[in-house]
């Protein structure tokens, strides 16, 4: 993403933090200490929450930068879900739910699936929910509405995920008490932009890793990076990444400004970003050769994150259709 001076400083701080505290391989298990630092030390879950509500008063643009950086190291902690939930709640009349999210004592998860409501009782089961296992607060979509549900009122079962850096759980609601906190559509738009930002960050990291490998690794007596076919592949991936980054850049600004075209560009951003990420992560394995498909190398972690992100919360084809229908209506 292209930075202003402010976001450049934020990015540099975050990159330092993640390089020090969150290298990729450390994301294979929960790390409560890391979560504490992300929240209390850096205040990242309240980054885009107004200061008068206890946040840092930055915008969605800055949050997108943070999530890009989190994506670089495939952060396992529930930062994305919790920070987006905080933005949604700050904009609702349920601001009283914010404090535990901001001080890190509680994390949140978005439950998107077939849930129905009867009075204020929610019922339904959702098969794959990101970050639900550790969550204290669930934000549940019911048709066009969004409800807050105490996680203790739900049955949550941890799942083994294809992507070991992204915890998944199944959530069962059986008449759990819910509180209406806003619209589902806007929350999903914000979630899509967040996932898109994370994806371009991760994609850029694995592409950089690949280029670094091509630069040092020799074959047939010369660096791999001197083979034109490989360089052109890298160039094509760069074009795809830059294009996706542009759409994410635009969507983050639209989210920050609540621009009227956010509902169009938010799904488009996730579609474009995850397309780029799956292509780049797939080619990263290929360009690394044999080492790229070993368990020890990080390439497969990016690859699994890419595909997981692409398949959760609607696939690229569906999202593009949604964007098109919204963007060409009228």
């Amino acid at each position: 993403m292209t930075d202003s001076a402010d976001t450049a400083e934020l990015r540099s701080t975050l990159r330092g933090f993640f390089e020090q505290h969150a290298p990729t391989r450390s994301q294979l298990a929960d790390d409560p200490g890391q979560w504490k630092r992300l929240t209390t030390e850096l205040g990242l879950t309240g980054l885009a929450v107004p200061e008068e509500q206890g946040g840092s008063g930055a915008s969605y643009v800055e949050l997108a930068v943070v999530l890009e950086e989190a994506g670089r190291s495939l952060l396992r902690a529930p930062l994305l879900s919790t920070a987006v939930a905080a933005v949604v709640l700050a904009d609702s009349d349920a601001g009283d739910l914010l404090p535990p999210l901001l001080d890190g004592s509680m994390s949140a998860a978005f439950v998107v699936g077939d849930v129905t409501v009867d009075g204020d009782r929610l019922t339904g089961s959702v098969a794959q929910v990101v970050d639900a296992a550790a969550a204290g607060l669930l934000l549940v979509t019911v048709g066009d509405a969004l409800y807050a549900v105490d996680a203790a009122a739900a049955t949550i079962r941890s799942l083994e995920a294809l992507d070991p850096t992204r915890p998944l759980a199944a959530v069962e609601l059986d008449g759990a008490s819910g509180r209406r906190v806003g619209d589902a559509a806007h929350a999903l738009d914000l979630l899509h932009v967040a996932l898109a930002a994370e994806s371009v960050g991760a994609a850029r990291a694995v592409l950089e890793m690949t280029v670094a490998y091509l630069t040092v690794r020799e074959q047939f007596g010369r660096p791999l990076g001197s083979f034109q076919a490989l360089r052109h592949r890298v160039a094509d991936l760069t074009v795809e990444l830059e294009a996706a980054t542009s759409t994410v850049w635009y969507a983050a600004r639209a989210a920050a400004e609540r621009a009227p075209d956010l509902p169009v560009v938010a799904p488009l951003a996730k579609a474009t970003a995850t397309d780029a990420f799956t292509h780049i992560a797939g080619d990263a394995i290929q360009l690394h050769g044999g080492i790229g498909f070993t368990w020890e190398h990080d390439a497969h972690l990016y690859f699994k994150r890419a595909w997981t992100t692409a398949l959760l919360h609607d696939d690229a084809r569906t999202l593009r259709r949604t964007a098109f229908d919204r963007g060409t209506r009228g």
């Binding site: 052109h232 890298v234 160039a235 760069t238 759409t247 593009r320």
Partner: protein, 384 residues
């Protein structure tokens, strides 16, 4: 003036003329169609100049209007939306003018900029040579200084709009025996003289957007060299950097028009009923949104965060996007696309055919990929 007011002014000015005296030029020109209504488009260039729209983004001290990026975006968007014709002097306004303003002497600025700003001097570009392809440094055209000025001999190719041009900026080898990037001079050469011959190249569209130019003892004045003699490569590279992305937003409005035509054809043929065709249309639409986001992001760049290869990324993106759209245009028409109805190729057929050139001219896809790999990532160059 607010941006909205500015937009209103642009719209009103364009509407008055394009609905009126210049109605004939609406939608003319552009890729594969540069032969259309040439005289009217020359007059249109001067009308634009009278309206103060030529050199809109040039600095004021070069005689431009110093408009902000946002204003330029508005102008290009509205221009394209109103069906403004392909600009017959875009090489003058976009390349020659800015180059002379940046690298030229005061005398050169006084001599050449007014003709561009008034729309009276049409310019073309003399870079590529036969047999050199994308290798811009393989210049064999020579320039020799004699008492009456520079004498130029050689051949340029893939020059657009040449047959209408008054002047040409020519990269020529002025140091005999020099090689590659060294010993080249950047010369401004009048086209209306016996030593210059233009031969149109007929393209697969059946039209001639590009030409060959033969310089056979063509002459230009001694002081019509921009920068130092022998240091023309730096000037030529500077020219290429002036494409700042604003005009691509105008180009995209044209692309949107192409896409609308494809959608209309898909509806009319019934192809849109196929879910898979609908998907392809949606993908084309999504790609166009991304083109726009990319141009806007580039325009917002501050120097510190730019990638340095925005223009190369943008070229690959739009050229490939447009080529896929051309193929989609054929697919949605089905068998009907194989027939030429009426007078020459249909707009969609022309678009389909012309889109094959977009990935070649102005730096082929292959050259753009080389530059991205080398400049952005620092990967090794091809060994020469």
């Amino acid at each position: 003036m607010s941006l909205a007011d500015f937009r209103g002014e642009v719209q009103a000015w364009l509407r008055e003329r394009l609905d009126g005296k210049f109605a004939a030029v609406v939608g003319t020109g552009g890729p594969g169609r540069e032969h259309e209504h040439v005289e009217e488009r020359k007059a249109w260039e001067q009308e634009l100049a009278r309206g103060g729209w030529v050199g809109l983004g040039w600095p004021r001290d070069a005689g431009g209007r110093g408009a902000s990026i946002e204003e330029q975006v508005v102008f290009y968007e509205e221009y394209a939306r109103a069906g403004g014709p392909g600009r017959i002097n875009h090489l003058g306004e976009q390349l020659a003018g800015p180059t002379i303003a940046a690298f030229g002497t005061q005398e050169q600025k006084d001599r050449f900029l007014p003709g561009i700003l008034q729309g009276t001097d049409i310019w073309c570009q003399g870079y590529s040579e036969p047999g050199a392809g994308s290798d811009l440094a393989a210049v064999r055209t020579t320039a020799v200084m004699r008492e009456d000025g520079w004498h130029i001999d050689g051949q340029k190719v893939w020059t657009s709009l040449t047959q209408y041009a008054d002047w040409c900026f020519v990269l020529a080898r002025s140091d005999a025996g020099s090689e590659r990037h060294r010993g080249l001079s950047y010369l401004l050469v009048p086209m209306r003289q016996p030593g210059v011959e233009v031969r149109p190249i007929v393209q697969l569209t059946g039209t001639s957007e590009f030409n060959e130019v033969f310089f056979d003892d063509a002459v230009t004045a001694a002081d019509n060299v921009v920068g130092e003699p022998g240091a023309g490569w730096r000037v030529a590279m500077g020219t290429l950097a002036f494409e700042r992305g604003v005009s691509t937003l105008g180009q995209q409005v044209g692309f949107a028009h192409d896409l609308d035509q494809v959608i209309a054809a898909a509806i009319s043929s019934g192809a849109v009923e196929h879910d898979a065709v609908k998907d392809q249309i949606v993908e084309a639409w999504a790609g166009l949104q991304t083109l726009r986001h990319s141009a806007l992001r580039t325009l917002n760049n501050d120097a510190s965060s730019s990638t340095g290869v925005e223009a190369n990324v943008s070229k690959l993106l739009w050229a490939n996007w447009h080529q896929r759209l051309g193929e989609l245009a054929m697919s949605v028409q089905g068998a009907a696309a194989t027939v030429v109805d009426g007078d020459g190729f249909s707009p969609l057929q022309t678009m389909f055919l012309a889109s094959r050139a977009g990935t070649i001219y102005g730096g082929s896809n292959e050259v753009q990929r080389n530059i991205i790999a080398e400049r952005f990532w620092g990967l090794p160059k091809d060994r020469a």
